[in-house]
Symmetry: C2
Subunit: 277 residues, 2 copies
């Protein structure tokens, strides 16, 4: 792990706070970059720079003055509504990419930082313990039927990833009950909760699994799939038996609370290793 | 088209009624097979045989006595809750397949009929006018941006079909807003209506399209994708610009009412021909 001063571009969710706390614990110099309109209720005790999507040149100037030579993108950020009457040069470059899909936008953002000498670092390099290992976490193990559902969901997620749709799928008894699109995992689990009861053919057989893996086309520096305690609670509400993640390629945020939530609700958490065929 | 006496296995939706009316118009001998628990409010004026999932041998005997040598599967049928204490030989064969996924179940049902000398006929062979032709129906045409969304949705639906997930996808401005799983198109459109507002990056640009095509692995005798007037109304509620279907491979039920609904709500209906690359 490098110890260069790092800017944390903070979106929603637990990840930016975890990164800031870890930098503080390690004594690494960091600054939390908060974009206008993004609410960070945890950021009070941290060094924060407020930034605007229309004035990225100004952000780069400030980061370089502060000696920041690394940046981490952390947490979900909705596509901004940008005031196009008021854009500096860097912002114009980013805006051009924003209408071209998620991956393209993130790559353009990365290129922009790197063209200013600020290197993009992956969250999992700053916090390697976030990555899930292979096998069972917590007290509950998947059944043989659950493992079949995991393998089927992994096959579906892989097909989805190749066409850049989402990172997750829900499968019960071999049947796909939902697939992640731009709305994210919470919306997928709500959809399953509201619609899936009649579609588990055998009411006493496997209840189903949420599986998450990165898209095959994905730049691994951004947006690795992640779960936290709230994901476990939502999966329990959706009637699932557990959650599986691609081992070594997905993150568990707040591991203690996440595993505790799984144990309390009777769900398994499983690091899945794809079989090589 | 053959004119053999035909049994119409009637599920939900408009298709079985259309088939029965068409047989009557053509003077073709037919019988509507109504399974217990399936409500057919339109079937009053038609010759109907009531059947039970547990007693398929009895159904075959009656169909053969009636001289039926063809069968059409029409309309959605939920997986039945079967009373396993009470199964004849044919029902036992079908039940074994029921837990193996949609396509497997339908193929097993087809094999069962054909082993009794009753040939499975596709709805589009009985009613070829149901298939959508290439190009625009009705008064509204897709824009260039809509055609881009159609091409992207077709790519996604194709990837989904290869892993046997669904027949439909919704795309707006290049971004996937939803994908069909076992719950069907109505549930997909409801999901888009409830969740997608914030995810169309440009609020004044393309509103998005519903695209449907058969799964590549699909037996074309069953369950070709279809739309009717209600699909158009649901797509309008979901804020979409129109509906595209794989030309020659999907059905429009009640074409006059469907096109009228599209014209009234300002949506296009489009028969899409995939580009050969």
């Amino acid at each position: 792990m490098t110890m260069k001063p790092v800017a944390i571009i903070a979106g929603a969710g637990l990840l930016p706070e975890l990164l800031a706390n870890e930098c503080r614990r390690l004594g690494r110099v960091y600054v939390v970059v908060q974009f206008q309109g993004i609410d960070l209720d945890w950021a009070g005790g941290h060094h924060t720079e407020v930034a605007e999507f229309e004035r990225l040149d100004s952000l780069f100037d400030r980061l370089i003055s502060a000696g920041c030579t690394a940046v981490v993108f952390a947490g979900a950020m909705a596509r901004p509504r940008v005031d196009v009457t008021w854009l500096d040069a860097s912002s114009t470059r980013l805006l051009t990419a924003i209408n071209s899909g998620d991956d393209t936008t993130l790559r353009a953002a990365a290129d922009l930082f790197e063209s200013h000498g600020i290197l993009v670092e992956a969250a999992q390099d700053t916090l390697p313990d976030l990555l899930i290992e292979a096998g069972v976490l917590g007290q509950i193990s998947p059944t043989v039927e659950d493992l079949d559902d995991i393998a089927r969901a992994a096959e579906i997620a892989s097909a989805l990833g190749r066409v850049d749709v989402g990172q997750a799928a829900v499968v019960a008894q071999g049947i796909c009950l939902g697939v992640e699109s731009i709305q994210g995992t919470d919306a997928l689990l709500r959809f399953v909760m509201e619609t899936a009861v009649a579609f588990r053919p055998n009411p006493i057989a496997a209840k189903g699994v949420l599986f998450k893996a990165p898209k095959s086309i994905q730049d691994r520096r951004f947006d690795l799939p992640a779960i936290g305690p709230d994901t476990v609670k939502a999966a329990a509400k959706a009637g699932l038996a557990g959650i599986a993640l691609a081992a070594g390629q997905a993150m568990i945020l707040d591991r203690a609370a996440t595993v505790a939530a799984a144990d309390q609700t009777g769900l398994f958490i499983y690091g899945h290793v794809a079989k090589v065929s």
